[in-house]
Symmetry: C2
Subunit: 401 residues, 2 copies
């Protein structure tokens, strides 16, 4: 197996970079995108081969950036299931709602995809120590793959990041620091430390390969749905790498002539208390401003500023999608409702995306005949601290209805 | 697609039961086993079809007991990944160690397999309310599938069952009760309540279909390894349904002529503080006695008495395997070691099984040339409360190495 990796490219100024060298961002401070020799690949490669390979995202080896198999670090990431939410579809009045459950990844979230590919490539490029700020889950995922790859890892997160994610980072042996404030404050601490100690900074989109891991969600959706893509893909948006990655996947598949027909409308969902991208979308801007006083119960989308905002906005606009907010009350209500009716205990971020389906239906972005796919980005069992109900203690007594 | 379901059979007295009727155990109080028309299936069915189907355990539809597709309840269970633990293999001095990571199931444990099939079949047979005692994870899994199936669920668990599993049961809408004592005490409470209220009791092996779900671990292992099975399969044993199920799968495949060559040695691992089956094995008994004063940090294997003990002992002995204990100190040490070296945060029960590899190598059950497969039965992130290390809080300060 081989990769068709060709070069790194700045989507703003067009400058090219050599992918055999370690790179963070473009000189113009824009995130770099990985480019492949798609023309050659379209001629040589039959994508049906992918489906015949073992489960997991490394089946898309040709369209991933790692050159040498020796550096491929895997904990079984990818090949997550898609299942229907029939009761909810009836309730919201749409034809079908599918959830792609990214909770069934190593470390329980979609962050494992970006980490698997990001860490593997960092290892291939000779990195010894990586450092990152995180809302929680990305840190846990990168810490896991760094442990496997034998890389050192330094992580900083808000002091109120979910307890489970703090513990995970520690368990994987990452040097774990808490900071007062938001992920943006953790980001400042990490940036300074990287300057000082020469660590490789892997904050969201500060290196080019995390997108490639997240891209595999798009490849899997295509493998699952083929030319009968859902009308819309609903995605909870913090840093936005998933939506950027899926859209990149669809473009690459389309360029090679493998994805025909209409592409899904890409819908970015944010919390009302932290909605920089939604605001920029509504104000018809190409770039989002820092969102002051960011707050939401969904820690993963409490991201007041995202480097890739312009790429998210481009995916949304090019696809005819939209950007929409939900409140914390709506998130928690949907979260509880979904577990007790459909048996799906998703994460608060996933619940935000689910609730948005009702909103975009009202807005007319989707119609009653449409099928939609929602990304649940993590396992709900990581967030049971949000549940207020308690079990009844019988002590030595017996159960009386 | 169709099932080759034929009948229920008592493995002790041989009495047959009609699988279209609701059954708990045999009149002789022995768990019932599901039998299929394997002769017919071997003639008519090509098992290569299984690999071509979508991911998940329902690809083995023919060898599962649900008749009508309408009752198949799925949250994406099964098709869990297998990956190597290379550093640990070098450390323990064996050729290869593979882990099958059952943490990547709905609700984060292998219990989802038994629950998916058990609940689907209960629904097909017209059950309205199921009730069960649990150490924690089985309750969470059954509660999830009951929510999806529209069944009512009542669950009782020890008051010190892991907090996450308690919260999960509540989130899925199960009536959740805590009791003073062990799973055996919860069992008594549930049994009485089932007698009183007519609920269907689904305690371990009190109904025949949970084994069929667990069996799919064996089918997947065969699909993965084919005729080059690992030398040994190491399994953390509480109720023992997994080992019984895998062994049943291997027998069914062998009967149909699809699994040739040597079968793996089945190794049952228990905690030193709760080892009824290991004790019975050493005393050459066919049945285990109640283990007084049961205690271990690994809640899932804190099962002082198991209805299927005789089936576990049979699988172990027929396969040339063994039964072995590990201490809580060994469990915790291995748990931490594995996450920081291999990036695999497994569950304490899984850690018990991993540690047992070193023991059975010392005992001569496996040799340095052997490949072994260990079942990690759940996601370690459900147990981060066991981790004592804490992150460093920088407050508003900066990171100094």
């Amino acid at each position: 197996m081989k990769t068709y990796l060709k070069e790194l490219e700045c989507p703003k100024c067009g400058k090219k970079y050599d992918p055999s060298k370690l790179n963070n961002m473009c000189e113009c401070e824009t995130p770099l995108l990985v480019r492949y020799d798609l023309e050659k690949m379209a001629k040589e490669f039959d994508p049906r081969v992918w489906s015949s390979r073992p489960r997991g995202l490394w089946r898309y080896r040709e369209l991933l950036p790692v050159v040498d198999d020796e550096h491929v670090m895997s904990l079984g990431e990818g090949s997550t299931p898609v299942f229907p939410l029939r009761k909810l579809a009836a309730e919201y009045g749409v034809k079908e709602i599918f959830v792609k459950d990214e909770g069934m990844n190593p470390t329980g979230t979609f962050k494992a995809r970006g980490a698997a590919v990001g860490v593997s490539k960092a290892r291939e490029l000779g990195v010894k120590t990586v450092a990152m700020p995180t809302a929680g889950n990305a840190g846990a995922a990168w810490a896991a793959y760094c442990a496997r790859a034998g890389l050192k890892m330094v992580v900083a997160m808000p002091e109120d990041a979910p307890a489970t994610t703090q513990a995970e980072c520690m368990a994987y042996g990452a040097k774990t620091y808490l900071v007062k404030g938001l992920i943006s404050d953790a980001g400042r601490v990490i940036r300074q430390a990287c300057d000082k100690y020469g660590w490789f900074e892997v904050a969201t989109l500060k290196e080019p390969y995390r997108i490639e891991g997240k891209k595999t969600m798009g490849l899997e959706i295509w493998e699952e749905f083929g030319d009968k893509m859902p009308s819309a893909i609903i995605y909870p948006t913090g840093g936005g790498v998933g939506i950027i990655g899926m859209w990149k996947a669809f473009q690459e598949l389309r360029t090679m002539g493998w994805l025909k027909g209409r592409l899904p409308k890409m819908v970015a969902v944010q919390a009302e208390g932290c909605a920089p991208i939604v605001r920029a979308y509504k104000e018809r801007k190409d770039k989002a401003e820092f969102f002051q006083g960011a707050h939401t119960v969904a820690a993963g989308i409490r991201v007041p500023s995202a480097l890739g905002d312009f790429l998210v906005l481009d995916a949304v606009r090019s696809s005819g999608g939209t950007c929409v907010t939900v409140t914390d009350e709506e998130i928690l209500e949907t979260w509880k409702h979904l577990s007790s009716t459909e048996g799906a205990l998703i994460c608060p971020e996933g619940a935000a995306a689910v609730r948005a389906i009702a909103k975009i239906k009202e807005m007319g972005v989707i119609s009653p005949d449409d099928s939609v796919l929602v990304l649940n980005t993590g396992a709900g069992m990581k967030y049971t601290e949000l549940l207020t109900e308690r079990a009844v203690n019988l002590g030595n007594g017996s159960l009386v209805e």
